[in-house]
């Protein structure tokens, strides 16, 4: 009853930046016989969500990958949060430098935070240079133009990295969806097989 269909799919990315692509299964029967798995002994269902409880030696490859995907997803999401916090910071710095440049010639009076809840007044004289905190306990002095250039480059890099990251996350979620659907199809196929067997008990 199984139709001989090709088990390879076209137009699929096999992996992206270290994330393995999920293989799309055209025909469940062919897939299972190829993988040499006996569904009946391999799958044991105790709950109706996607976390199928599997016997460890005959585990479906999909279940392992789902957990790996979740790990990678958490890692990427953490990176995304970092970047999304960094970008407004850089924009604020750019704003300050721009204001300093605009106010050349006059002294700028500001209230800045000395400690939490405590502010002090400062008068910033005519400035040609600013100091930028580069991280790793390093602070360098730059002229206003150089500082603006550096900050803009950082901002562009951060935005570009964020875009790549978001595309990675989308790819990852697609793979997770494909894997979940494959697990569901194997389960359905198995239920269907059981029904067929019950309906015709003389065939094995």
């Amino acid at each position: 009853m199984a139709t001989a269909s090709s088990s390879s799919s076209s137009g699929m990315v096999t992996e992206r930046r270290g994330i393995p692509g999920a293989q799309f299964v055209e025909d469940v029967q062919t897939y299972l016989t190829q993988a040499g798995l006996d569904v009946n002994s391999a799958l044991a269902f105790s709950k109706k969500d996607e976390e199928l409880v599997l016997h460890s030696d005959n585990a479906l490859p999909e279940d392992m990958t789902l957990q790996q995907y979740k790990l990678v997803e958490m890692k990427l999401q953490a990176q995304q949060r970092d970047l999304q916090a960094k970008i407004p910071d850089i924009e604020k710095c750019l704003d300050v430098v721009a204001t300093l440049q605009a106010k050349k010639g006059t002294a700028l009076i500001t209230d800045f935070e000395v400690s939490e809840g405590i502010y002090s007044r400062a008068s910033i004289e005519d400035t040609d240079s600013v100091c930028l905190w580069l991280g790793a306990n390093v602070m360098l002095e730059y002229s206003c133009e150089e500082a603006t250039g550096l900050l803009r480059r950082n901002l562009d890099n951060a935005k570009a990295s964020l875009e790549v990251l978001l595309a990675d996350l989308q790819f990852l979620r697609d793979q997770v969806t494909i894997t979940q659907v494959t697990i569901a199809r194997v389960y359905n196929w198995d239920v269907h097989q059981r029904r067929l067997r019950q309906a015709s008990p003389k065939d094995s």
Binding site: S10, M12, F24, L108, I109, E113, T177, N188, V191, H192
Partner: protein
Amino acid sequence: MQQGGGSETEVTWEDQQNINKFGRLNNRFHELEDEIKFAKESNENLEDASNELILTDEEVVRFQIGEVFAHVPKEEVESRIEEMKEVTSKNLEKLEEEKESILAQMAELKQILYGKFKDSINLEED
């Protein structure tokens, strides 16, 4: 997604791509809702700020730039706030438009997928 009751409906690569697309749109929809909420809040804050500004009679206002509060003359603060309000409302418009388009695409995909899979698929919010 729920598991079906052992139906024989085949899932083609095209169906899989539709399902993936629906998932992606759904995620983007939730992100957009958060962004829209945030943009609306900023808009309100800017409104409140400009109202306060009209009421105050001080000449110099402490305007927050980055982490410091710079002493800026009132007119300049007014124009800055106007600029910021414009930027946020344009942003908000763009976000709302994107949200509408996503909802439309999702409705279309729902029709296609429910049409093929009927009860074997669940595309509603949990």
